[in-house]
Point group: C2
Chain length 541, copies 2
């Protein structure tokens, strides 16, 4: 009768006709694994070593083994890592939620230290890893890699993975460390964009003051435009909700609008070659400060949880994905003849990551401490160790970058590229598992419970909002004072502490007088108890 399949296959096997059967199978496997990750993660929550990301990573690895065994070592195509999936769908909800739930007071109090770590720190790390790789890899046989490849290695391994940080540091237990390390991860996204732009027309023979100035200028331009875009999107959303929905609220529309506007800000930033991560992070901050107060109580509860849920699913998905992808047989094929080399390269890279991070955490903490008055505000040595340690993890961002660099246009066939890919995977797995597992115990060891509580009950008046800025910029006077224990002149102290107080005071005045009447926010809509981080919001206004 010749009734050609077509028309009803869509309904029948639905996807079997339009996409292939394999993708339905893999979606099923993935969703089922996500469910099991959630359940197992919940059961292991009380465990002092584990966290959800490691659970997901291990489940992913086990599934990879099972798939390898059932397909007799042939499978690799179901689980190809896709940068699109990562950067378009998984990363935005994670970063947005981090901005939305971040303790704004902590974040802005340490703002300049965060910029310092994220910008200068990443640069230092980048140069150490790049130069180290050039020097060391020269001596062992790793296939053909040019200078561009080495600089790429530096860029891939210098960036802290903000998603990993979210997993190992607890915002409620160690708010200061969390805001510092996570904030650094957000800021260094902008750094790496600038870094790449600079390197594109970088000539090693013409490094002069203008190049450096241009570089610094570019960084600030990118940082400011990205931030501005995020703030603008957040304010626009707050304004729309406040103006349109007055007296006639619709929870579903409000929630949808917030989600879509946040996503739009991220995608716009990508379109304009800005840093999407910075943009969506600031969009989250602004939305939680204004828009969140303009919506119904139901919307408030819903948004708070739905952003966290989306972020939670994306994170779990990501680690599961990395775990499953790690065992992809194709990548290991080219390195199997020289396993010693791959292990060697991985160890060297891990060592460089350790050194590169140490090389900026300790000096920059010292600089930052110089600008702090009271001993409680200083980053003591124990905290410095935790900052160093907690930022060592390399995650999905590194894998995505490595794939993008070393697998394009079929270059995986080259031995050098294959070794780099497998080494990146090894470094990511090792750092996430080992550093990740040890972070919780390390914090417990270095910061006793009393000290951690002390961190929470810090004085609530933000004092050093801008003071760290003066530290590194006025590079001259550190040489004079020599160490952070020397009492600095009180006139200097005034200079350092007053601006931040002033800035905060005027910000509150400005916020109350101009921003809140237009964009809404706490106090300009009926107060609802039980808001998230109520104290924080109080602190920042």
């Amino acid at each position: 009768m010749g009734f050609d399949v077509g028309a009803h296959l869509v309904r029948l096997g639905i996807v079997s006709s339009t996409s292939d059967h394999a993708s339905v199978v893999s979606i099923n496997i993935f969703v089922a694994l996500l469910c099991s990750c959630i359940v197992i993660g919940h059961l292991l929550e009380e465990n002092r070593w584990m966290n959800e990301s490691i659970t997901a990573l291990i489940i992913g690895l086990c599934t990879g083994v099972v798939i390898l065994l059932t397909t007799k070592g042939k499978s690799s195509h179901i689980l190809v890592f896709s940068e699109d999936l990562f950067f378009i769908y998984l990363l935005p909800p994670i970063i947005f939620n981090a901005g939305f739930q971040v303790k704004k007071k902590q974040f802005f109090r340490n703002f300049m230290t965060i910029i310092l770590f994220g910008a200068i720190g990443t640069m230092i790390s980048f140069f150490i890893i790049s130069l180290g790789a050039i020097e060391i890899f020269k001596r062992i046989d790793v296939g053909s890699l040019d200078v561009g490849d080495f600089l790429a290695i530096g860029a891939i391994f210098s960036a802290t993975d903000s998603v990993c940080t979210l997993q190992v540091l607890n915002q409620d237990e160690t708010p200061f460390l969390y805001s510092l390390v996570f904030g650094e991860g957000v800021v260094n996204d902008a750094t790496s964009v600038v870094l790449f732009n600079a390197l594109q027309d970088f000539d090693i023979n013409h490094v002069d003051a203008i190049t450096v100035l241009k570089f610094v200028g570019n960084f600030f331009y990118l940082f400011l435009t990205s931030t501005f875009l995020g703030v603008f999107a957040g304010l626009l959303c707050a304004y729309i909700i406040k103006k349109l929905y007055i007296g006639r609220h619709s929870t579903d529309r409000e929630v949808a609008l917030m989600i879509l506007m946040a996503y739009l800000s991220y995608m716009l930033a990508e379109l304009l070659d800005l840093s999407g991560i910075l943009t969506v992070f600031f969009c989250g901050i602004v939305m939680s400060h204004y828009a969140w107060h303009n919506v119904t109580e139901s919307s408030r509860i819903t948004t708070k949880h739905v952003f966290a849920t989306m972020s939670f699913i994306a994170e779990t998905f990501l680690f599961l994905y990395v775990g499953m992808d790690a065992l992809d047989i194709e990548k290991w094929k080219f390195t199997s003849d020289s396993p010693g080399n791959s292990i060697g390269v991985s160890s060297i890279l891990l060592g460089l990551v350790l050194v590169g991070r140490a090389a900026f955490v300790f000096p920059l903490s010292f600089l930052s401490n110089l600008t702090k008055r009271s001993p409680e505000e200083k980053i003591n040595f124990r905290k410095q160790i935790i900052i160093w340690w907690a930022g060592l993890m390399r995650g999905a961002v590194s894998i995505a970058l490595a794939y993008n660099k070393f697998t394009r246009s079929g270059h995986t066939q080259l031995r050098g590229n294959a070794i780099m890919i497998t080494s990146t995977i090894t470094v990511v797995l090792f750092s996430t598992m080992v550093f990740g597992l040890l972070t919780k115990p390390l914090i417990r060891l270095l910061l006793p419970a009393s000290s951690r509580n002390c961190v929470i009950s810090e004085p609530t008046t933000p004092k050093s909002l801008l003071s760290p800025l003066l530290g590194p910029e006025q590079g001259g006077w550190e040489a004079e004072t020599g160490g952070h224990s020397i009492t600095r002149p009180s006139s200097l102290r005034m200079l350092l502490t007053k601006p931040s107080r002033t800035v905060h005071y005027y910000w509150r005045k400005f916020d109350d007088a101009f921003m809140r009447p237009v964009f809404g926010g706490r106090g300009f809509v009926p107060h609802v108890p039980g808001s998230p981080h109520e104290d924080t919001l109080n602190g920042w206004r």
Copy 2:
């Protein structure tokens, strides 16, 4: 210096390297349009004609025009309709939310009428449209189409679009009509799967009783397995949440688990060649009956709104998409030499849809009425007209099916296929706009407010849960009674009304004695006020 782009492009233009720049642009356009749809839809909410889907459709059309003009009639590739996107991502949240928020009492009270309409009705419509198309298209020049194509046309245009129904019928205003027309749309998904299976090995020369019985058997098998899968997924989710999370709740995990389990049920149904729509619909019903009562109060509010929001975004996206896609220039190229033909075909198809639906709504309503005792329970003529009218819309499902049938393997080049595609688009646009716009006024005209309120305040004891089943099955006695106004013998009445009462009574007993203690649910977890459709849940238990 040769620093090859690669590594940082991911971070820089992020997607520009991995996917093409165009896709970032189109994501931006889409998200921005979605935002504007939400805002404009809110502004037009009070308008008595418009609804959100038509707003989205018009905005989509306008954007299509703008894109056509700016690209000087060349653009078509940004906006290609993808069945994958539709069936894997957009449809599941819409149907799941419908199941989750459906008034269960109404739905189960009319269960057999719904099955009747969805199964037998769709069949009748399918045959009328197929045969009509064969007869009429023979006489006009529409290119080469074989019998399979005509049967496909029947299948494409016989299915009510459940998404459209959600938009024009209001569950609170006309719960009976809503549950009937929407339920029909869900059930006829199973019908079309069976229909397709049957047609695959259908031999026109060997239609006998066994073929028909096999067909009926297949339908019930598919219906029951799909339903079972959905119910199983819902119960499993309820059980997991109840067992694992006792005493230690985590809202984010609960919400994530509910979303993922529901999606898993849909994808599993697709994998097993069942009806995913039926599965996810029943999964929603079971989740709202059990799992929803096991979670924290925050989760309850969050899930209620987040499912509605996801569904809302998916619906808006869909109509926007259809609107934008309609103006794709490539499709119209082949029909531009004979515009008269295309209009003719569209009109014929529209006429067939009208006739095909009338041919089952009125007779089947008559059958259904025969089984009802009280005049209030009967589907009066005015309601029949609304049922007929509200189910006339053809939407994205039709377009997806038409694309799948007529565009595969480059067949768009054939004139017959091109005409079918453009005609489908015309029918969809016309029916959604015209029928959609007129539905609200029609309901207002035919059902005065008092009557609509009367519908809401129907007696709360479900009486006719299974009674409509006896109507069509016991085909013998309608001939005896002749019309629905004749008083039927009381013994028959007892037969008809008792089973449903008994079923409901035993269901409640069973639910309270076995299901609720295991799976949780209302009364087995502390009562929380303000649950959605509280009365409904009360009614169903």
